[in-house]
């Protein structure tokens, strides 16, 4: 299968073309074609996984064009990292596509949704298999485009349109810094392919601070796409899109692309002197982990809470990569993909049932939606790192490496873990425990399309619950695959530190403490949230306003933008137009002045001639 690796991205592309072209007239209005496409790709991915495990590697390069004497070779690479990612994307995407058939049922633009999904799958697979900066960047842009299209799928709702635009622009900022990084690398190493660049770096063509700058710039792209600290503002708003989109793009695949990018260009980060680039990655990851988690605590919209959770988990992955535990970071990515997708789909089915996103209007759904509840519970336990679920293995590996590497990072991670446990507990109690609080039918803005009236919540149809169960199995079972994974996906020379028991115990205790705190406040009401809110007024408002980051951007950029616009307008009006008008006026004036010269009478002209003669002779004599 390896030599035909290029076939994998091709399948979803074909599906996309077919669905866009024939659309509604296809069987199942395009859904089946899309599912078939991604399912096949997923199978091939698994086959690829098997072959790479057996040791087969391949780098299918193809000379595309000769740029000024330098051939530009592009192609696909098959190695453990890309195989794992292809498999993960394939499996998760097919499950989500199946799920969305039920979720999107009755939507007027049903077939177009699946076309966009296929396009997204193609670009994600394309990005993952790329073996050079050009292809990865191309995939990067395509993925961004699809996220814009899918977030703004219900474009008639202004909030969705604004969110899509915001997502696109913010990620563009990241892409821009990534492009500059790539250009710096290209200028110095003369090639775009990863191996070529890494050889160039090894050969010392680029080094020292410039290399660190290039690495950080490339990491900037990841920050943009994976919504890390400075550029995280777009992800919570992206929840405007349909839930399967949030699940697929904003949980499992696209946001993970940033982590994949750092992993793929790891030698770049390693070579930077004193691992400066890696420490930058680690700290940004760590801070984001804690920072995003805190914001999740005060969210009432179930999807926004999960969004902040994703941002924080991505922070953990970068933390992992930053503290030189390459395989732990990647492993956490895979496990996170499964249980976060599951959480989103679960939330989706809940919204589908109660037609509202607001947790305050839910409650007591455990009895009404048993399958959703249990799968949701499994995913929550995995996320908060409760053994024996997968989250425990991957997250603790990262914390372990962080502790060995840098104490403060470990502290950040642990605090993050506590807060994660707290807000996931809060979410679970609010949604599934207690009595049903949602009275008003179809009230909140979350419900749309497929969700029919609230009133009496009931279990989602089988087409939605089956993928939930499969994902739940993955979320639960994957943890045990850690050791083979470590051997399979590892970077030569980067070893994970030995696991130390006390640390594991500490992290589990932290998670349980989180759960207990949430239960105390929301389930057993020892310290009701209203009381808490009154005492912690300041921090509460700070968190609600998301540390005023949005406002800051709004104020700075809009104000700056306004100023620039004003300046440009003035400049254009007064300087550019000014000059043009001045020329016009001048010629007019000159013409008017010269008019008196041309009197039409010969003697005037003769006079001028002889006057000129006299002047010339006098000047000649004088000089």
């Amino acid at each position: 299968m390896t030599p035909y690796a290029w076939l994998i991205p091709l399948l979803p592309l074909l599906a996309f073309v077919l669905v866009i072209w024939r659309g509604d007239r296809l069987p199942g209005r395009g859904a089946t074609i899309s599912i078939a496409g991604i399912a096949l790709a997923g199978l091939c991915g698994l086959a690829l996984l098997g072959e790479t495990a057996a040791g087969r590697r391949a780098d299918l390069t193809y000379q595309w064009v000769v740029l000024g004497g330098r051939p530009l070779t592009v192609g696909f690479v098959v190695d453990p990292l890309s195989a794992v990612m292809t498999a993960m994307v394939g499996v998760v995407a097919s499950l989500i596509t199946i799920y969305s058939v039920g979720y999107m049922e009755g939507d007027p633009r049903f077939s177009r949704f699946f076309a966009y999904l296929s396009l997204f799958q193609f670009s994600m697979l394309f990005l993952v298999l790329a073996d050079n900066f050009l292809f990865i960047y191309a995939g990067w842009e395509l993925v961004g485009l699809c996220s814009y299209l899918l977030i703004g799928f219900w474009f008639e709702r202004p909030a969705a349109a604004r969110a899509a635009l915001k997502a696109f622009v913010t990620t563009r900022v990241g892409d821009f810094s990534m492009m500059i990084g790539i250009l710096i690398l290209f200028l110095h190493t003369g090639t775009l392919s990863f191996t070529g660049v890494f050889h160039g770096i090894a050969a010392g063509r680029i080094g020292g601070p410039l290399l660190t700058l290039a690495a950080v710039l490339v990491f900037g792209g990841a920050v943009g796409k994976s919504a890390q600290i400075p550029l995280h503002v777009w992800l919570p708003d992206a929840m405007e899109g349909p839930t399967p989109v949030s699940a697929l793009i904003h949980a499992a695949t696209m946001v993970a692309a940033g982590v994949y990018l750092v992993a793929r260009t790891y030698p770049l980060f390693l070579q930077s002197p004193g691992h400066q680039a890696l420490t930058v990655v680690a700290y940004i990851g760590g801070i984001t982990a804690l920072f995003a988690a805190t914001m999740g605590v005060v969210e009432n919209d179930i999807k926004r809470v999960l969004a902040y959770s994703t941002v924080s988990q991505l922070g953990y992955m970068f933390l992992g990569l930053g503290v030189l535990s390459y395989s732990a970071g990647m492993f956490h990515l895979i496990t996170h993909a499964f249980f976060k997708a599951l959480l989103f789909l679960g939330a989706g089915s809940v919204i589908h049932a109660v037609a509202t996103n607001n947790m305050k209007e839910m409650g007591g759904l455990a009895r009404a939606m048993p399958v959703t509840f249990w799968t949701f519970l499994v995913a929550t336990l995995a996320l908060t790192g409760i053994p024996p679920f997968s989250g425990f293995f991957s997250k603790d590996a990262i914390l372990l490496a962080a502790y060995a590497h840098d104490k403060t990072l470990w502290l950040l991670g642990a605090a993050g873990a506590f807060v994660t446990a707290f807000y996931m507990g809060r979410l679970t109690w609010y949604t599934f425990a207690g009595s049903y609080r949602g009275g008003s039918p179809a009230a909140s803005q979350g419900a749309h399309g497929g969700a029919h009236g609230g009133g009496h919540p009931h279990e989602s149809p089988r087409v939605m619950t089956v993928p939930l169960v499969i994902l739940a199995a993955g979320a639960a079972g994957l943890g045990f695959l850690e050791s083979p994974f470590d051997r399979y996906v590892r970077f030569p020379g980067v070893e994970a530190p030995a696991s130390s028991a006390p640390l594991l115990v500490v992290s589990v205790l932290v998670a349980l403490a989180g759960w207990a705190a949430a239960g105390a406040i929301y389930y057993w009401r020892i310290l009701p949230s209203a009381v808490l809110r009154r005492y912690l007024r300041a921090p509460y408002t700070l968190l609600v306003h998301k540390y005023y980051v949005d406002d800051l951007y709004g104020w700075v950029f809009l104000r700056a933008g306004g100023l620039v616009v004003l300046l440009a307008g003035a400049f254009d009006r007064y300087v550019v137009d000014g000059i043009v008008n001045a020329v016009g006026w001048l010629t007019g004036r000159l013409g008017w002045a010269l008019r008196f010269l041309q009197t039409g009478r010969e003697e005037n002209y003769l006079l001028l001639i002889f006057l000129g003669l006299v002047v010339i002779v006098v000047v000649r004599l004088v000089r």
Partner: protein
């Protein structure tokens, strides 16, 4: 003061006086008629310079033909009747100053340069010599002038003719 100098200054006086009359007299006919003494004065100058043939031609053409032509045209156009019209246009003073300036410049130029003393005696001057060179070395000029004469003759006739 040899006889020649006296003659020169007398002739110069005649020329300049009649020139002034030509230039400044309000009556156009007066200025036309004053041309004749001017031309005759210049003929005298030519004779002083020993150019009899040129003097003869000057009298024949300038004094005889061109002045007559001028008088003819004055009579034919209202120039003659419109005697009392203001003869000078509005750039009088400026024109005068330019003319004076040029005169001063020329005179300055002339007096400052030292001319050769080569005023040797002329050989036995005969119109024949001119004839020889006209049809010899300067044949082209001669033919050219004849063509110009022909063309201007026909042109003048055509322009002046009254279209029936």
């Amino acid at each position: 003061m040899t006889g020649e100098a006296i003659a020169f200054y007398a002739l110069a006086a005649v020329i300049l006086v009649s020139g002034l009359v030509v230039v400044s007299s309000p009556n156009i006919v007066h200025s036309a008629v004053a041309l004749v003494p001017a031309f005759l004065g210049i003929t005298g100058i030519y004779i002083l310079l020993g150019a009899e043939f040129v003097a003869g031609i000057q009298v024949l053409i300038y004094a005889g033909a061109i002045t007559v032509l001028l008088l003819f045209v004055i009579m034919l156009t209202e120039g003659g009747t419109g005697l009392r019209l203001q003869q000078r246009n509005e750039q009088g003073p400026v024109g005068a100053s330019v003319a004076v300036a040029i005169a001063v410049l020329l005179i300055a130029g002339v007096t400052h340069t030292t001319w050769g003393r080569g005023a040797g005696t002329l050989p036995a001057y005969t119109p024949g010599a001119i004839g020889q060179s006209f049809l010899g070395t300067n044949l082209l000029a001669f033919e050219g002038t004849s063509i110009v004469l022909l063309v201007s003759l026909i042109g003048a006739v055509i322009i002046a003719r009254k279209e029936e």
